[in-house]
């Protein structure tokens, strides 16, 4: 057993057989917002942050994350009653359709904006093209990122 720190909370996890973070988080920690899509780092549905870096949890062994700070979709709100600017923009644009890929999309977008608060179109494409959306909501995702970017910059200059 190892200890994982997820969204500032400690969880005991059985890391045997090289279980990837994805399955430890979903089945052992019961945080099901992080999704299984492909299992080979092709679709981005399982994206989480490990020490702030966007990480594909489906190919990352849980054992490698011991002692690191893991953040999932359940942990991005500043507090229980306040949405992250990215979530607000997502709702404003009515972005999700089926919604299955959206945790991963949002985690990639949050990581992008934390590293680069005012990304260009090309930078958004580069950061987001690892996340597949079969409902094809790329136009809305892109627009939502731009809206969130404006809000985040405003907040940071206050």
């Amino acid at each position: 057993m190892i200890k994982l720190n997820i969204n500032d909370k400690d969880y005991e996890v059985d890391e045997s057989q090289g279980v990837p973070l994805l399955w430890a988080i979903r089945e052992q920690c019961k945080l099901t917002g992080t999704k299984f899509g492909c299992g080979i780092s092709q679709c981005g549905a399982c994206t989480i942050h490990v020490d702030g870096k966007p990480t594909r949890s489906c190919i990352t062994p849980a054992s490698t994350a011991e002692g690191k700070k893991i953040r999932t979709i359940e942990g991005i709100q500043p507090d229980e009653n306040t949405l992250h600017e990215v979530q607000k923009a997502w709702i404003e644009m009515q972005t999700p359709q089926c919604g299955y890929c959206q945790s991963g999309q949002i985690m990639s977008a949050v990581a992008l904006l934390e590293a680069n608060p005012s990304p260009s179109d090309e930078e958004i494409d580069a950061a987001m093209s690892g996340n597949i959306c079969r409902c094809g909501m790329y136009g809305r995702i892109k627009e939502a990122i731009k809206r969130a970017s404006v809000k985040i910059q405003k907040t940071s200059t206050l």
Partner: protein, 739 residues
């Protein structure tokens, strides 16, 4: 079968606590179900229950369709709220339980009957044969772009209007005034001259005592205040915080996990299975399912690792000899043979095409081909089943929850009412989640144990054991006179599923011959977004483009000229022409292509702007979409569906291809079945025409024509006509490019 001659009517009743329930009841019938106890009297049975009005003034719409992101729960609740004159903030929804009373009568009637007038449907006698057919077919299906078209129009709106009429009559009676003097606005029932008013909740118990109207009057478009607006969707908040529950997220106490590996070759059998790994590394049980191996373990990963460690020996049978090239050759050879032997089935025939071919000034000919396609929904298939003796519970995201109940009951040989289906959100459907193959497989596994089992397919299993859009071929030929007028149109295609009108063309061509045949195939077929429209959209809209070029006419104006008697085609073509700046100059190596098609009651025209660089790389920059769905109930969701259908179709256009190698699917995951990503996505603009016709579908109609819009644009840019999809298999390089 006995003919049903009694009337369908609106049934109502009161639940404990004073909640008014309203539904559609029918007599005679058996009073059997839970809802019937509430709203039907002796000798009546309930067809559908549509709404509840509680004392706390909330109105709950009960919706017999699955949410897969198309916003159906919101749109249908809006239709009900509109007729009720409810305040939108008091509206809630519940997804209907998967019991037979929710067999989607309105959907079936819409499909089988071709769309009756709204109130008339309730007035008319219900044909018992038809009703029995609906129930036995287990129709509670979300598909065919049908939810708004049928359930919304014939169910939700009628229920809302009926409830409103009952509330008004109850108020009039209580206040001793005339019905006509009562107004209802935003959930408040008022009588102006006496100054009296009441909320829905206050009046609901009284309203339940009112005789139910059988033909409530529906609003006309000019009175709409909720329909036609874009209310925020109910399902979105939980889709941005990780709380939305999909089938794969279900957590049942004491649940274990399973995965499977089916014979890679369709039709193959598992020879034997080694159970020696049971009890080790979290593995609980290994099962031979006949055509697949299953492993039950403490977690998905343990099941997957165990599966990978086993040497599975399949008897692949004769299908293992089948390869992609052989399939194409055989289909083509069979097309030659049925033509030579005069064994083609006729889809449509008018006039005499051969006479025109003999004397035409210009003949245009081409053979088109499209590949097998997988659905590749984001959420891999999964299903959780708990078998408890003569009862079972099922958790899944299905487009057809009643079908799920039926399939589980049949597999376990138990009564269908003993199967409880908990339908979850669907992580993409596109037709795939209308099937019950994984449901049956999960049931076979779960019946071996006495605890709940969640079966999850790997992406590889999902890709290689899909039900596929067929590999299709169409041979097209047209005759034009000296002025470029088409005299004859002929197509010979393979496989006709549905909707059958997909093979029709809207163009005014006096002589037409559209015929088909059905070669044998070992690859399982399934509904793929827009179904037969996905193939015929490409065939006919590419070929009409060839005809336009044969006539030396602008492709958009050619289409307009040949649809003069079709005002809705004219309108979408005019709008897409204007919004795309059709005819204006484009950069070098760019081209514009147009396509237009009607499917699921919605008319769509698309113009694609495409760049083909010297190496042959294709980039779709912009897509302009003009659509006439009759009336868009929720314009933003409608636009989202057009965008979605275009991107889904674009993946199939550019790279989508399943091929068969040694009888099995050669692709396995997104690396070899690439789909559209953000960097490949065009800017999409959608413009809606509310023509005042019956609402058409939204989920599918933009998909069929993105392929021809793009390939027609490639022709405009390069002069190369693409007749085989996907585009990646074609050489477009020039000037020493790689191509």
């Amino acid at each position: 079968m006995k003919k049903w001659t009694r009337r369908a009517f609106i049934g109502a009743g009161v639940l404990a606590g004073g909640t008014l329930v309203l539904g559609i009841a029918i007599r005679p019938g058996n009073r059997s179900s839970k809802v019937a106890d509430v709203i039907a009297k002796d000798g009546e049975s309930v067809l559908n229950i549509w709404l509840k009005i509680a004392k706390d003034n909330t109105v709950t719409a009960i919706i017999p369709h699955s949410e897969m992101g198309q916003g159906v729960h919101t749109a249908l609740a809006m239709m009900l709220a509109e007729e009720l004159d409810a305040d939108w903030s008091q509206i809630r929804f519940e997804e209907a339980p998967a019991i037979k009373e929710y067999a989607n009568h309105a959907v079936a009637k819409g499909f089988l009957g071709g769309g009756p007038d709204v109130p008339k449907f309730l007035n008319e006698t219900i044909d018992g044969v038809f009703l029995t057919a609906v129930k036995s077919l287990n129709l509670q299906i979300t598909g065919g772009s049908a939810s708004v078209r049928f359930t919304g129009q014939y169910g939700m709106r009628v229920a809302g209007a009926a409830a409103r009429a009952m509330l008004v009559q109850a108020a009039a009676k209580k206040w001793g005034v005339a019905d006509e003097e009562i107004t209802v606005e935003k959930g408040l029932i008022s009588h102006a001259s006496s100054g009296q008013s009441a909320s829905f909740g206050e009046m609901a118990p009284e309203a339940a005592k009112i005789k139910k109207p059988s033909d409530p009057i529906l609003k006309t478009e000019k009175d709409f205040s909720i329909i036609g607006t874009s209310q925020p969707r109910f399902d979105i908040p939980e889709k941005v915080n990780g709380k939305a529950k999909f089938g794969i997220d279900v957590d049942v106490p004491n649940m274990k996990y399973a995965t499977v590996a089916a014979s890679p070759v369709f039709g193959g059998k598992l020879k034997s299975i080694d159970t020696s790994i049971e009890g080790k590394n979290g593995v609980i049980k290994v099962i031979n399912l006949g055509n697949a191996a299953a492993v039950i373990a403490d977690g998905y990963w343990q099941a997957k690792m165990a599966m990978a460690s086993m040497n599975l020996d399949f008897d692949s049978g004769e299908n293992a000899q089948i390869n992609q090239e052989e399939i194409i050759d055989r289909y083509r050879r069979e097309m030659d043979e049925v033509l030579a032997n005069d064994e083609l089935e006729i889809h449509h025939e008018s006039g005499d095409v051969n006479a025109e071919f003999d004397q035409a000034a210009t003949i245009v000919e081409g053979e088109y081909r499209v590949p097998f396609l997988a659905h590749a929904t984001m959420e891999p298939l999964n299903c959780t089943v708990w078998v408890k003796g003569e009862e079972a519970e099922v958790w899944c995201g299905s487009q057809n929850p009643l079908g799920v109940a039926g399939a589980v009951a049949e597999e376990l040989d138990i009564k269908q009412e003993n199967v409880q289906v908990h339908n979850q959100l669907l992580g993409g459907g596109f037709g795939r989640r209308s099937e019950t193959d994984i449901i049956i497989q999960a049931t076979k596994i779960a019946k071996e144990v006495n605890y709940p089992v969640k079966l999850i397919w790997s992406r590889e299993e999902d890709m290689q054991h899909d039900v596929y859009r067929e590999l299709g071929i169409s041979r097209m030929k047209a005759a034009l006179d000296e002025s470029g007028n088409p005299l004859a149109y002929q197509s010979q295609f393979i496989f006709r599923h549905h909707p059958t009108e997909a093979a029709d063309i809207p163009y005014d061509v006096p002589n037409q011959q559209i015929r088909f045949s059905t070669p044998s195939s070992h690859v399982p077929w399934g509904n793929w977004r827009s179904v037969d429209h996905s193939t015929h959209g490409f065939y006919s809209e590419s070929f009409v483009d060839e005809m336009a070029h044969g006539a030396k006419e602008d492709p958009l104006m050619f289409r307009k000229r040949l649809t003069k008697t079709e005002p809705r085609f004219q309108a979408v073509l005019d709008l897409v022409k204007e919004k795309s700046n059709w005819g204006s100059e484009l950069p070098q190596n760019w081209g514009r292509g147009v396509a237009v098609h009607k499917s699921f009651g919605t008319y769509v025209a698309e113009v694609a702007e495409v760049e083909v660089d010297n190496s042959g790389k294709v980039k779709v920059h912009r897509v302009v979409c003009a659509a006439d769905p009759g009336f868009a109930i929720h314009p933003d969701s409608f636009k989202a569906q057009m965008e979605s259908g275009i991107i889904y179709g674009l993946a199939a256009t550019m790279t989508g291809e399943i091929t068969i190698k040694d009888g099995a699917v050669a692709q396995s995951n997104f690396h070899d079945y690439p789909v559209t990503r953000m960097m490949d996505s065009p800017k999409i603009e959608t413009y809606i025409i509310n023509s005042g016709n019956d609402p058409g579908g939204a989920g599918e109609p933009s998909t069929p024509i993105i392929a021809p819009a793009v390939t027609n644009a490639i022709f405009a840019a390069t002069g190369v006509r693409i007749r085989e999809l996907p585009i990646k298999n074609n050489s477009l390089g020039r000037e020493g490019g790689l191509g």
